[in-house]
Amino acid sequence: MNASTLLWVIALGGAGTLLIRLLPMIWQEKGIRKAAATGRLRRALDAIGPSAIVALLAVSFWGMIAPQASVQAVLPVVAGLAGVWLGKKLLRTIAWATLAGVLAYGLALWALASASL
């Protein structure tokens, strides 16, 4: 693909993604009072965020574990999750919890690599 075609691909991908994010907000604003009046729709919209987080989490773990379901693949993930949980419990912020999990994951990887040498 030459540079000018790639530029068009990037521009159209960007414009389309922006419209995907923007148009439902415009539609929602026009009908917001009606939506607010119906409890069922409101509950469904409220659940989309948490459901999206669970779905993203499931997909990312599936990608890390499923291709090679072995102790070497699962143990660092378990260590990383424990690190996030502990980081959230002790340090309370999402950023530090994430860092604690990444650190635990990296240490487990390093320990497994050292043990197999």
Partner: protein, 224 residues
């Protein structure tokens, strides 16, 4: 509004921690695929949707046609259709920012973080806080891409463990977000979303499974 904006900017650190390593990886992947560094940065500036950017790079590297690359990128980002309406229910009816400014940075992670936090903020602060959150996340993504595209190659070339560890950053962020928001909806909704997503992984590409999980959670919550 100004202090709320600055608080949002500070809270975007949790997203930046996840974004910077992935954005560096994206910059690296683009350069590996013979995409010029400035085009890699431009992709992050304009598309700003992580997974679809990686797919864009791999399709371009694989010689796919322009129309199919654009189509697949948009298909992958269709899940964002559901984010705006859910976000709008948590913002004030009287907005000061144009909708396009609220929509431009509505990524998975910005949405997930905003949904968890907006409920805890007073109504007048929510829009400013969200604008700060969006801007911080966006700058970290674009900045990380630039670092990866222009400087990252030398850093990661010799460290397999570091490269692999960076792959855990986004899952760790999602798990931390789940711990933050797990009280917002009933457990059966979260379990249903997870079950539907895992089922979807057998049948669909991953972006389809994500949409399936979101819809399953929304349906379960709507039924009460």
């Amino acid at each position: 509004m100004k202090s709320a904006f600055l608080r949002g900017l500070a809270d975007s650190l949790s997203i930046a921690v996840g974004y910077v390593p992935v954005a560096i990886s994206f910059g690296l992947a683009a350069v590996y695929a013979d995409i010029p560094p400035f085009m890699a940065v431009l992709t992050s500036v304009l598309v700003y949707a992580g997974a679809s950017q990686f797919i864009l790079v791999s399709l371009v590297a694989g010689g796919a046609g322009a129309a199919s690359v654009v189509g697949i990128v948009l298909l992958m980002n269709l899940r964002h259709l559901f984010y705006g309406p859910a976000l709008m229910t948590r913002l004030e009816d009287e907005r000061r920012l144009p909708l396009i400014a609220l929509a431009a940075g509505l990524t998975d992670e910005v949405f997930a973080t905003a949904i968890g936090k907006l409920e805890t903020l007073p109504q007048p602060d929510r829009e400013g806080w969200y604008a700060g959150l969006q801007l911080g996340a966006y700058l970290s993504w674009v900045g990380g891409t630039a670092v990866g595209a222009y400087f990252g190659y030398d850093w990661l070339r010799d460290s397999a463990i570091l490269s692999q560890t960076l792959g855990f950053v986004l899952p760790a962020l999602f798990f931390a977000l789940l711990l933050e928001i797990r009280q917002l909806v009933p457990l059966r909704v979260l379990a249903g979303a997870a079950g539907a997503t895992l089922l979807g992984m057998w049948l669909l590409p991953s972006y389809g499974a994500i949409v399936l999980g979101m819809l399953a959670g929304a349906l379960l919550a709507g039924r009460r």
